[in-house]
């Protein structure tokens, strides 16, 4: 792992409104903009349901977990820049910006993002992860 390395992208070809309905239950968030395209239209926000902001951030967490298996997430900073809509294709990605070793292991700093096809960034920010050092062997 080196500064400048790109992390493997994590994609959803089409964000499914059915998943938004399931998330609304878990999040206890009855906001109709996640459930009903007609409600979105009435509010003048377009004609497709709008994905929950935490879900957009969670896609980035999924990308980090896949790219750095076994790493522990220490810090996650995100700015929410735009909405993700039902049926959007999204791609989470990242780039290594720092690699520092200490007694606990290797700390990896990353620039992170979630991009929507044809519209650009929906979320941008940074993350710090720790890859723990292997435990030293104890002689019998």
């Amino acid at each position: 792992m080196h500064v400048g390395d790109l992390l493997p992208v994590w994609r959803i070809d089409s964000v499914d409104p059915a998943n938004m309905r399931e998330l609304a239950g878990v999040l206890r968030d009855p906001n109709p903009i996640h459930l009903d395209a007609a409600a979105v239209q009435r509010l003048g926000l377009g004609d497709r349901v709008i994905n929950q902001g935490p879900a957009n951030l969670a896609y980035i967490v999924n990308m980090l977990s896949a790219a750095l298996p076994g790493a522990v997430l220490l810090q996650l900073d995100a700015r929410f820049l735009a909405n993700v809509l039902g049926a959007d294709a999204v791609e989470a990605g990242g780039r290594v910006v720092s690699v520092e070793a200490d007694a606990a292991g290797t700390r990896i700093g990353c620039e992170i993002w979630l991009n929507v096809a044809d519209r650009g960034a929906a979320v941008a920010g940074g993350a710090m992860l720790l890859l723990a050092s292997p435990r030293p062997r104890v002689n019998p």
């Binding site: 938004m20 998330l23 878990v26 967490v61 999924n62 997430l73 996650l76 900073d77 929410f80």
Partner: protein, 146 residues
Amino acid sequence: MDNAQPPQIAGRTLPGGEYRITADENRRLCEALYTTPNPDGTAHAIYAYIATQSGMGVSVDGLLALCEFDAADGPMLGSSNTQYLQPIRTDVTYRIGGEVLALTRKSSKKLGTIDILEYRLSMDSPSGERIVDITNTWILPRRAAK
């Protein structure tokens, strides 16, 4: 309201509460997020946001009402900064606390007059160990303010 300044609510303590992530809820969340649960009993890391937000003892609408802002006026989540001090686990009842850090009026080229609400939430284990610190901001367009 007096539109010159937003309500002075910096330092206001939120009621707080508890939040328990069941293994079944974590499984449903992971499925809705196109992933699978961790086999080691840790919850999806996005629960740092979900659990603190749900357990802070006031709804988002209620939090916005403290700012004298109507949720129907289109609040926008601006940012979220999370420090993970320990893994978040399923089937543990966490204690949530929080406070308002600032409510600041600004001018935006795109949105006109806006207020930025900044608040900090924490998640502690039953033994009092800090698990998560999170600071969120919301952007509140003040359509009537000058």
